[in-house]
Symmetry: C2
Subunit: 257 residues, 2 copies
Protein backbone atom coordinates (compact mmCIF):
# COMPACT_ATOMS: atom_id res chain seq x y z
CA UNK A 1 0.00 0.00 0.00
CA UNK A 2 2.87 2.22 0.96
CA UNK A 3 4.94 1.05 -1.90
CA UNK A 4 2.00 1.89 -4.13
CA UNK A 5 1.72 5.36 -2.61
CA UNK A 6 5.40 5.88 -3.25
CA UNK A 7 5.15 4.53 -6.79
CA UNK A 8 2.30 6.96 -7.39
CA UNK A 9 4.49 9.90 -6.40
CA UNK A 10 5.82 12.21 -9.09
CA UNK A 11 9.42 11.51 -10.09
CA UNK A 12 12.41 13.75 -10.63
CA UNK A 13 15.84 13.84 -12.20
CA UNK A 14 18.51 16.37 -11.27
CA UNK A 15 20.94 17.35 -14.03
CA UNK A 16 24.10 18.99 -12.69
CA UNK A 17 25.72 20.93 -15.53
CA UNK A 18 29.26 21.56 -14.45
CA UNK A 19 32.79 20.94 -15.61
CA UNK A 20 33.86 22.06 -12.13
CA UNK A 21 32.22 18.99 -10.59
CA UNK A 22 33.58 16.57 -13.22
CA UNK A 23 37.11 17.97 -12.77
CA UNK A 24 36.98 17.56 -8.99
CA UNK A 25 37.43 21.31 -8.43
CA UNK A 26 34.12 21.65 -6.62
CA UNK A 27 32.34 19.43 -4.12
CA UNK A 28 28.70 19.31 -5.18
CA UNK A 29 26.21 19.90 -2.37
CA UNK A 30 23.17 20.74 -4.48
CA UNK A 31 22.17 17.10 -4.95
CA UNK A 32 21.83 16.49 -1.21
CA UNK A 33 19.76 19.63 -0.71
CA UNK A 34 17.41 18.84 -3.60
CA UNK A 35 17.15 15.18 -2.56
CA UNK A 36 16.00 16.10 0.93
CA UNK A 37 13.58 18.80 -0.16
CA UNK A 38 12.06 16.64 -2.90
CA UNK A 39 11.55 13.75 -0.44
CA UNK A 40 9.74 16.14 1.91
CA UNK A 41 7.47 17.14 -0.96
CA UNK A 42 6.76 13.52 -1.90
CA UNK A 43 8.69 13.77 -5.17
CA UNK A 44 10.88 10.74 -5.79
CA UNK A 45 14.38 11.70 -6.92
CA UNK A 46 15.11 8.77 -9.23
CA UNK A 47 18.34 9.79 -10.91
CA UNK A 48 21.09 12.40 -11.05
CA UNK A 49 23.24 13.12 -14.10
CA UNK A 50 26.40 15.19 -13.82
CA UNK A 51 27.42 16.32 -17.29
CA UNK A 52 29.91 18.70 -18.92
CA UNK A 53 29.26 22.23 -20.20
CA UNK A 54 28.87 20.99 -23.77
CA UNK A 55 26.02 21.88 -26.06
CA UNK A 56 25.22 18.51 -27.65
CA UNK A 57 25.64 16.66 -24.36
CA UNK A 58 23.28 19.01 -22.53
CA UNK A 59 20.60 18.95 -25.24
CA UNK A 60 20.63 15.15 -25.51
CA UNK A 61 20.50 14.68 -21.74
CA UNK A 62 17.66 17.17 -21.23
CA UNK A 63 15.60 15.54 -23.95
CA UNK A 64 16.21 12.06 -22.59
CA UNK A 65 15.30 12.80 -18.99
CA UNK A 66 12.41 15.20 -19.55
CA UNK A 67 10.63 12.40 -21.40
CA UNK A 68 11.27 9.96 -18.56
CA UNK A 69 10.53 11.88 -15.34
CA UNK A 70 7.76 14.14 -14.03
CA UNK A 71 10.24 16.90 -13.17
CA UNK A 72 13.74 17.81 -14.29
CA UNK A 73 15.83 20.24 -12.27
CA UNK A 74 19.06 21.56 -13.75
CA UNK A 75 21.74 23.33 -11.73
CA UNK A 76 24.51 25.47 -13.15
CA UNK A 77 25.44 27.27 -16.33
CA UNK A 78 23.08 30.25 -16.22
CA UNK A 79 25.54 33.08 -15.56
CA UNK A 80 26.88 35.67 -18.02
CA UNK A 81 30.12 34.00 -19.17
CA UNK A 82 30.96 31.97 -22.28
CA UNK A 83 30.71 28.68 -20.36
CA UNK A 84 27.12 29.43 -19.27
CA UNK A 85 25.15 27.71 -22.00
CA UNK A 86 22.35 25.93 -20.15
CA UNK A 87 19.62 28.36 -21.20
CA UNK A 88 20.34 28.25 -24.93
CA UNK A 89 20.66 24.45 -24.77
CA UNK A 90 17.27 24.11 -23.08
CA UNK A 91 15.77 26.26 -25.86
CA UNK A 92 17.35 23.97 -28.44
CA UNK A 93 16.10 20.87 -26.59
CA UNK A 94 12.55 22.22 -26.72
CA UNK A 95 12.96 23.44 -30.31
CA UNK A 96 11.95 27.01 -29.45
CA UNK A 97 13.77 30.31 -30.08
CA UNK A 98 16.24 31.62 -27.50
CA UNK A 99 15.28 35.24 -27.22
CA UNK A 100 15.11 38.22 -24.85
CA UNK A 101 12.60 37.51 -22.07
CA UNK A 102 10.68 40.79 -21.63
CA UNK A 103 10.20 40.47 -17.87
CA UNK A 104 13.77 39.33 -17.13
CA UNK A 105 15.18 41.94 -19.49
CA UNK A 106 13.27 44.76 -17.77
CA UNK A 107 14.32 43.47 -14.35
CA UNK A 108 18.04 43.41 -15.14
CA UNK A 109 18.00 46.61 -17.20
CA UNK A 110 16.48 48.44 -14.22
CA UNK A 111 19.12 47.01 -11.89
CA UNK A 112 22.35 47.96 -13.66
CA UNK A 113 23.71 51.51 -13.92
CA UNK A 114 23.45 52.99 -17.42
CA UNK A 115 25.79 51.22 -19.83
CA UNK A 116 26.46 48.24 -17.55
CA UNK A 117 23.65 46.02 -18.81
CA UNK A 118 26.17 44.74 -21.33
CA UNK A 119 25.79 41.87 -23.84
CA UNK A 120 27.15 39.32 -21.31
CA UNK A 121 24.51 40.32 -18.77
CA UNK A 122 21.86 40.43 -21.49
CA UNK A 123 22.51 36.69 -21.92
CA UNK A 124 21.05 36.20 -18.43
CA UNK A 125 17.81 37.78 -19.68
CA UNK A 126 17.73 35.65 -22.84
CA UNK A 127 15.62 32.53 -22.47
CA UNK A 128 13.64 29.91 -24.33
CA UNK A 129 10.43 31.41 -25.68
CA UNK A 130 7.61 30.71 -23.21
CA UNK A 131 9.89 30.39 -20.16
CA UNK A 132 8.33 31.27 -16.82
CA UNK A 133 10.72 33.05 -14.45
CA UNK A 134 11.91 31.66 -11.12
CA UNK A 135 12.70 34.52 -8.78
CA UNK A 136 16.27 34.91 -7.50
CA UNK A 137 16.17 36.86 -4.21
CA UNK A 138 19.95 36.59 -3.76
CA UNK A 139 21.62 37.83 -6.92
CA UNK A 140 18.64 38.90 -9.07
CA UNK A 141 19.22 37.07 -12.38
CA UNK A 142 16.28 34.65 -12.47
CA UNK A 143 16.04 30.96 -13.27
CA UNK A 144 13.14 29.69 -15.35
CA UNK A 145 10.78 26.83 -16.04
CA UNK A 146 9.75 25.50 -19.42
CA UNK A 147 7.55 22.44 -19.70
CA UNK A 148 8.67 20.12 -16.92
CA UNK A 149 12.25 21.46 -16.88
CA UNK A 150 13.25 23.84 -14.09
CA UNK A 151 16.52 25.70 -14.61
CA UNK A 152 18.30 26.73 -11.40
CA UNK A 153 21.61 28.41 -10.60
CA UNK A 154 24.69 26.41 -9.61
CA UNK A 155 25.80 28.50 -6.62
CA UNK A 156 24.19 26.63 -3.69
CA UNK A 157 22.76 29.65 -1.88
CA UNK A 158 21.16 30.96 -5.06
CA UNK A 159 19.96 27.51 -6.13
CA UNK A 160 18.32 26.94 -2.76
CA UNK A 161 16.52 30.27 -2.78
CA UNK A 162 15.27 29.63 -6.31
CA UNK A 163 14.09 26.15 -5.38
CA UNK A 164 12.12 27.46 -2.41
CA UNK A 165 10.36 30.01 -4.65
CA UNK A 166 9.55 27.23 -7.11
CA UNK A 167 8.68 24.49 -4.62
CA UNK A 168 5.30 25.87 -3.61
CA UNK A 169 4.14 25.65 -7.22
CA UNK A 170 5.11 22.00 -7.81
CA UNK A 171 2.45 19.37 -7.14
CA UNK A 172 4.02 16.70 -4.90
CA UNK A 173 2.88 13.41 -3.41
CA UNK A 174 3.01 11.49 -0.17
CA UNK A 175 6.07 12.74 1.75
CA UNK A 176 8.81 10.15 2.15
CA UNK A 177 9.75 9.71 5.79
CA UNK A 178 12.69 7.84 7.21
CA UNK A 179 13.48 6.29 10.56
CA UNK A 180 17.01 5.25 11.48
CA UNK A 181 18.65 3.11 14.13
CA UNK A 182 22.30 2.26 14.65
CA UNK A 183 24.40 -0.06 16.75
CA UNK A 184 28.10 -0.09 17.59
CA UNK A 185 30.31 -3.03 16.79
CA UNK A 186 27.72 -4.90 14.80
CA UNK A 187 29.06 -6.11 11.44
CA UNK A 188 26.56 -5.98 8.57
CA UNK A 189 27.27 -9.63 7.81
CA UNK A 190 25.69 -10.70 11.10
CA UNK A 191 22.43 -8.80 10.68
CA UNK A 192 22.02 -9.37 6.95
CA UNK A 193 19.81 -12.47 7.08
CA UNK A 194 17.25 -11.26 9.68
CA UNK A 195 17.25 -7.85 7.96
CA UNK A 196 16.32 -9.43 4.63
CA UNK A 197 13.55 -11.29 6.42
CA UNK A 198 12.16 -8.05 7.90
CA UNK A 199 12.39 -6.38 4.47
CA UNK A 200 10.28 -9.21 3.02
CA UNK A 201 7.57 -8.65 5.59
CA UNK A 202 7.50 -4.86 5.02
CA UNK A 203 7.26 -4.50 1.24
CA UNK A 204 6.04 -0.90 1.60
CA UNK A 205 9.19 0.12 3.46
CA UNK A 206 12.63 0.33 1.91
CA UNK A 207 15.30 -0.88 4.36
CA UNK A 208 18.86 0.29 3.75
CA UNK A 209 21.93 -0.96 5.59
CA UNK A 210 24.95 1.36 5.93
CA UNK A 211 28.13 0.34 7.73
CA UNK A 212 30.05 3.17 9.37
CA UNK A 213 33.61 3.56 10.50
CA UNK A 214 34.52 5.94 13.32
CA UNK A 215 37.67 6.45 15.35
CA UNK A 216 36.08 4.93 18.46
CA UNK A 217 33.80 2.31 16.95
CA UNK A 218 32.51 0.69 13.80
CA UNK A 219 28.91 -0.24 13.41
CA UNK A 220 25.89 -0.28 11.18
CA UNK A 221 22.97 2.09 10.59
CA UNK A 222 19.67 0.75 9.30
CA UNK A 223 17.30 3.23 7.66
CA UNK A 224 13.63 2.54 6.92
CA UNK A 225 12.06 4.78 4.28
CA UNK A 226 8.54 4.99 3.01
CA UNK A 227 5.39 7.04 2.86
CA UNK A 228 3.87 5.51 6.01
CA UNK A 229 5.55 6.60 9.24
CA UNK A 230 3.91 3.85 11.30
CA UNK A 231 5.21 1.04 9.06
CA UNK A 232 8.70 2.52 9.00
CA UNK A 233 8.69 2.73 12.78
CA UNK A 234 7.40 -0.84 13.13
CA UNK A 235 10.10 -2.16 10.83
CA UNK A 236 12.75 -0.33 12.86
CA UNK A 237 11.32 -1.79 16.08
CA UNK A 238 11.85 -5.22 14.58
CA UNK A 239 15.39 -4.31 13.58
CA UNK A 240 16.04 -3.19 17.17
CA UNK A 241 14.78 -6.52 18.50
CA UNK A 242 17.14 -8.35 16.15
CA UNK A 243 20.06 -6.11 17.14
CA UNK A 244 19.48 -6.96 20.80
CA UNK A 245 19.27 -10.68 19.99
CA UNK A 246 22.70 -10.33 18.38
CA UNK A 247 24.08 -8.79 21.57
CA UNK A 248 24.22 -5.21 20.24
CA UNK A 249 22.65 -2.12 21.74
CA UNK A 250 20.38 -0.30 19.26
CA UNK A 251 20.21 3.50 19.42
CA UNK A 252 17.50 5.34 17.51
CA UNK A 253 18.71 7.87 14.95
CA UNK A 254 21.77 8.12 12.73
CA UNK A 255 25.23 7.45 14.20
CA UNK A 256 27.06 10.57 15.46
CA UNK A 257 29.31 12.09 12.79
Amino acid sequence: MNAEAERANPTACVVVIGNEILSGRTQDTNVKFLAQRLAEKGIALREVRIIPDERDFIIATINEVRARYTYVFTTGGIGPTHDDITSECVAAAFGVPWEPHPEAWALLERHYPPGEFNPARQRMATMPRGAKLIENPISLAPGFSIGNVHVLAGVPRVMQAMFERLAATLPGGAPIVSVAVHARNLPEGRIAAPLAEIQNRYPGVSLGSYPYYRADNNGVAIVAKGTDQASAEQAIQEVMRVMRELGAEPVLGEPPV
Copy 2:
Protein backbone atom coordinates in the same frame (compact mmCIF):
# COMPACT_ATOMS: atom_id res chain seq x y z
CA MET B 1 46.90 20.55 -30.15
CA ASN B 2 46.12 20.45 -26.48
CA ALA B 3 42.47 19.98 -27.12
CA GLU B 4 43.43 17.10 -29.39
CA ALA B 5 45.59 15.58 -26.67
CA GLU B 6 42.68 15.86 -24.27
CA ARG B 7 40.26 14.43 -26.81
CA ALA B 8 42.64 11.51 -27.27
CA ASN B 9 42.53 10.74 -23.55
CA PRO B 10 40.54 7.73 -22.36
CA THR B 11 37.11 8.62 -20.98
CA ALA B 12 35.26 7.55 -17.86
CA CYS B 13 31.82 7.45 -16.31
CA VAL B 14 31.20 7.05 -12.58
CA VAL B 15 28.00 5.27 -11.59
CA VAL B 16 27.02 5.90 -7.97
CA ILE B 17 24.63 3.15 -6.89
CA GLY B 18 22.94 4.43 -3.79
CA ASN B 19 19.45 5.12 -2.47
CA GLU B 20 21.19 6.91 0.40
CA ILE B 21 22.46 9.60 -1.98
CA LEU B 22 19.13 9.97 -3.82
CA SER B 23 17.26 10.28 -0.50
CA GLY B 24 19.60 13.00 0.74
CA ARG B 25 20.70 10.88 3.71
CA THR B 26 24.35 10.87 2.64
CA GLN B 27 26.56 13.56 1.12
CA ASP B 28 28.51 11.89 -1.69
CA THR B 29 32.22 12.60 -1.66
CA ASN B 30 33.34 9.76 -3.94
CA VAL B 31 32.73 11.72 -7.13
CA LYS B 32 35.14 14.48 -6.15
CA PHE B 33 37.87 12.02 -5.19
CA LEU B 34 37.53 10.02 -8.41
CA ALA B 35 37.31 13.18 -10.53
CA GLN B 36 40.60 14.48 -9.15
CA ARG B 37 42.44 11.18 -9.37
CA LEU B 38 41.19 10.47 -12.90
CA ALA B 39 42.29 13.95 -14.08
CA GLU B 40 45.75 13.28 -12.66
CA LYS B 41 45.88 10.06 -14.66
CA GLY B 42 44.75 11.77 -17.86
CA ILE B 43 41.38 10.02 -17.87
CA ALA B 44 38.53 12.38 -18.74
CA LEU B 45 35.56 11.98 -16.39
CA ARG B 46 32.75 12.74 -18.81
CA GLU B 47 29.66 11.85 -16.83
CA VAL B 48 28.32 10.73 -13.46
CA ARG B 49 25.06 8.86 -12.94
CA ILE B 50 23.56 8.50 -9.49
CA ILE B 51 20.96 5.73 -9.59
CA PRO B 52 18.83 3.71 -7.15
CA ASP B 53 19.52 0.21 -5.79
CA GLU B 54 17.18 -1.36 -8.36
CA ARG B 55 18.07 -4.30 -10.54
CA ASP B 56 16.68 -3.21 -13.92
CA PHE B 57 17.90 0.35 -13.47
CA ILE B 58 21.44 -0.77 -12.64
CA ILE B 59 21.65 -3.26 -15.51
CA ALA B 60 20.37 -0.77 -18.09
CA THR B 61 22.69 1.99 -16.88
CA ILE B 62 25.78 -0.25 -16.81
CA ASN B 63 25.11 -1.47 -20.32
CA GLU B 64 24.51 2.02 -21.65
CA VAL B 65 27.63 3.60 -20.21
CA ARG B 66 30.07 0.72 -20.70
CA ALA B 67 29.40 0.96 -24.43
CA ARG B 68 30.01 4.70 -24.41
CA TYR B 69 33.12 5.25 -22.25
CA THR B 70 36.58 3.73 -21.95
CA TYR B 71 36.13 3.07 -18.24
CA VAL B 72 33.17 2.71 -15.93
CA PHE B 73 33.63 2.92 -12.16
CA THR B 74 30.74 1.95 -9.90
CA THR B 75 30.59 2.81 -6.21
CA GLY B 76 28.32 1.16 -3.67
CA GLY B 77 26.16 -1.90 -3.24
CA ILE B 78 28.79 -4.60 -2.75
CA GLY B 79 28.25 -5.45 0.92
CA PRO B 80 26.47 -8.49 2.41
CA THR B 81 22.92 -7.15 2.86
CA HIS B 82 19.77 -7.51 0.75
CA ASP B 83 20.22 -4.01 -0.73
CA ASP B 84 23.71 -4.85 -2.04
CA ILE B 85 22.93 -5.99 -5.57
CA THR B 86 25.61 -4.33 -7.70
CA SER B 87 27.62 -7.49 -8.27
CA GLU B 88 24.73 -9.66 -9.47
CA CYS B 89 23.49 -6.81 -11.69
CA VAL B 90 26.92 -6.43 -13.32
CA ALA B 91 26.88 -10.17 -14.04
CA ALA B 92 23.45 -9.81 -15.64
CA ALA B 93 24.62 -6.79 -17.64
CA PHE B 94 27.49 -8.84 -19.07
CA GLY B 95 25.29 -11.92 -19.51
CA VAL B 96 27.60 -14.15 -17.46
CA PRO B 97 26.84 -16.35 -14.44
CA TRP B 98 27.06 -14.87 -10.95
CA GLU B 99 28.97 -17.51 -9.06
CA PRO B 100 31.45 -18.10 -6.23
CA HIS B 101 34.79 -16.51 -7.09
CA PRO B 102 37.39 -19.08 -5.96
CA GLU B 103 40.01 -16.53 -4.88
CA ALA B 104 37.57 -14.20 -3.06
CA TRP B 105 35.83 -17.19 -1.48
CA ALA B 106 39.10 -18.59 -0.11
CA LEU B 107 40.12 -15.16 1.17
CA LEU B 108 36.92 -14.57 3.12
CA GLU B 109 36.57 -18.18 4.30
CA ARG B 110 40.06 -17.95 5.82
CA HIS B 111 39.20 -14.66 7.51
CA TYR B 112 36.04 -15.55 9.42
CA PRO B 113 35.92 -17.82 12.48
CA PRO B 114 34.36 -21.23 11.80
CA GLY B 115 30.64 -20.90 11.10
CA GLU B 116 30.72 -17.12 10.54
CA PHE B 117 31.30 -17.20 6.78
CA ASN B 118 27.53 -17.21 6.46
CA PRO B 119 25.39 -16.95 3.30
CA ALA B 120 25.27 -13.12 3.56
CA ARG B 121 29.06 -12.92 3.63
CA GLN B 122 29.30 -15.51 0.89
CA ARG B 123 27.48 -12.99 -1.33
CA MET B 124 30.59 -10.78 -1.08
CA ALA B 125 32.61 -13.64 -2.62
CA THR B 126 30.07 -14.22 -5.39
CA MET B 127 30.93 -12.40 -8.61
CA PRO B 128 30.43 -12.34 -12.35
CA ARG B 129 32.34 -15.21 -13.98
CA GLY B 130 35.73 -13.92 -15.12
CA ALA B 131 35.90 -11.05 -12.61
CA LYS B 132 39.38 -9.93 -11.60
CA LEU B 133 39.65 -8.94 -7.95
CA ILE B 134 40.47 -5.44 -6.70
CA GLU B 135 42.21 -5.72 -3.34
CA ASN B 136 40.55 -4.11 -0.29
CA PRO B 137 43.23 -3.38 2.31
CA ILE B 138 40.71 -1.79 4.69
CA SER B 139 37.88 -4.23 5.23
CA LEU B 140 38.99 -7.26 3.14
CA ALA B 141 35.96 -7.96 0.90
CA PRO B 142 37.32 -7.18 -2.58
CA GLY B 143 35.95 -5.17 -5.45
CA PHE B 144 36.36 -6.47 -8.99
CA SER B 145 36.81 -5.60 -12.64
CA ILE B 146 35.05 -7.19 -15.58
CA GLY B 147 35.58 -5.85 -19.09
CA ASN B 148 35.84 -2.07 -18.71
CA VAL B 149 33.68 -1.96 -15.58
CA HIS B 150 35.39 -1.53 -12.21
CA VAL B 151 33.23 -2.23 -9.18
CA LEU B 152 34.26 -0.35 -6.02
CA ALA B 153 32.87 -0.06 -2.50
CA GLY B 154 30.68 2.87 -1.45
CA VAL B 155 32.36 3.68 1.87
CA PRO B 156 34.82 6.44 0.90
CA ARG B 157 37.87 5.10 2.74
CA VAL B 158 37.39 1.64 1.24
CA MET B 159 36.60 3.01 -2.22
CA GLN B 160 39.74 5.15 -2.20
CA ALA B 161 41.99 2.28 -1.16
CA MET B 162 40.50 0.06 -3.86
CA PHE B 163 40.92 2.78 -6.48
CA GLU B 164 44.60 3.23 -5.60
CA ARG B 165 45.18 -0.51 -5.99
CA LEU B 166 43.44 -0.41 -9.36
CA ALA B 167 44.84 2.89 -10.64
CA ALA B 168 48.31 1.60 -11.44
CA THR B 169 46.81 -0.94 -13.84
CA LEU B 170 44.69 1.52 -15.86
CA PRO B 171 46.26 3.03 -18.97
CA GLY B 172 45.78 6.79 -18.78
CA GLY B 173 46.60 9.74 -21.00
CA ALA B 174 47.96 13.24 -20.79
CA PRO B 175 47.31 14.49 -17.24
CA ILE B 176 44.83 17.35 -17.03
CA VAL B 177 46.30 20.29 -15.18
CA SER B 178 44.53 23.35 -13.95
CA VAL B 179 45.61 26.86 -13.04
CA ALA B 180 43.33 29.20 -11.11
CA VAL B 181 43.21 32.90 -10.36
CA HIS B 182 40.64 34.88 -8.40
CA ALA B 183 39.79 38.48 -7.71
CA ARG B 184 37.64 40.12 -5.05
CA ASN B 185 34.69 42.31 -5.93
CA LEU B 186 34.79 41.58 -9.62
CA PRO B 187 31.36 40.65 -11.01
CA GLU B 188 31.40 37.96 -13.70
CA GLY B 189 29.37 40.20 -15.96
CA ARG B 190 32.27 42.67 -16.25
CA ILE B 191 34.91 40.13 -17.22
CA ALA B 192 32.69 37.96 -19.44
CA ALA B 193 33.50 39.59 -22.81
CA PRO B 194 37.32 39.68 -22.53
CA LEU B 195 37.23 36.19 -21.04
CA ALA B 196 35.36 34.84 -24.05
CA GLU B 197 37.95 36.52 -26.27
CA ILE B 198 40.81 34.81 -24.39
CA GLN B 199 38.96 31.48 -24.59
CA ASN B 200 38.76 31.89 -28.39
CA ARG B 201 42.51 32.39 -28.62
CA TYR B 202 43.27 29.34 -26.43
CA PRO B 203 41.17 26.56 -27.95
CA GLY B 204 43.33 23.94 -26.22
CA VAL B 205 42.50 25.33 -22.79
CA SER B 206 39.10 25.15 -21.14
CA LEU B 207 38.36 28.37 -19.23
CA GLY B 208 35.75 28.19 -16.49
CA SER B 209 34.31 31.14 -14.60
CA TYR B 210 33.01 30.62 -11.05
CA PRO B 211 31.54 33.42 -8.95
CA TYR B 212 31.98 33.05 -5.21
CA TYR B 213 30.23 34.52 -2.22
CA ARG B 214 32.02 34.94 1.10
CA ALA B 215 31.19 36.80 4.28
CA ASP B 216 33.85 39.43 3.61
CA ASN B 217 33.80 39.64 -0.17
CA ASN B 218 32.29 38.37 -3.38
CA GLY B 219 34.37 37.75 -6.42
CA VAL B 220 35.16 35.45 -9.29
CA ALA B 221 37.56 32.56 -9.82
CA ILE B 222 38.77 31.72 -13.31
CA VAL B 223 40.16 28.22 -13.88
CA ALA B 224 42.15 27.17 -16.95
CA LYS B 225 42.28 23.42 -17.59
CA GLY B 226 44.09 21.44 -20.21
CA THR B 227 46.85 18.99 -20.91
CA ASP B 228 49.49 21.68 -21.51
CA GLN B 229 50.62 23.49 -18.37
CA ALA B 230 52.30 26.30 -20.33
CA SER B 231 49.17 27.19 -22.30
CA ALA B 232 47.02 27.10 -19.18
CA GLU B 233 49.47 29.43 -17.43
CA GLN B 234 49.60 31.78 -20.42
CA ALA B 235 45.82 31.98 -20.57
CA ILE B 236 45.70 32.78 -16.85
CA GLN B 237 48.35 35.49 -17.33
CA GLU B 238 46.04 37.07 -19.87
CA VAL B 239 43.11 36.81 -17.48
CA MET B 240 45.21 38.55 -14.82
CA ARG B 241 45.99 41.38 -17.22
CA VAL B 242 42.28 41.83 -17.93
CA MET B 243 41.44 41.75 -14.22
CA ARG B 244 43.93 44.54 -13.58
CA GLU B 245 42.50 46.57 -16.48
CA LEU B 246 39.11 46.25 -14.79
CA GLY B 247 40.57 47.66 -11.57
CA ALA B 248 40.63 44.33 -9.71
CA GLU B 249 43.61 42.68 -8.01
CA PRO B 250 44.19 39.13 -9.32
CA VAL B 251 45.51 36.53 -6.88
CA LEU B 252 46.80 33.21 -8.20
CA GLY B 253 45.04 30.12 -6.88
CA GLU B 254 41.51 29.38 -5.74
CA PRO B 255 39.74 31.79 -3.37
CA PRO B 256 40.09 30.93 0.34
CA VAL B 257 37.22 28.79 1.62
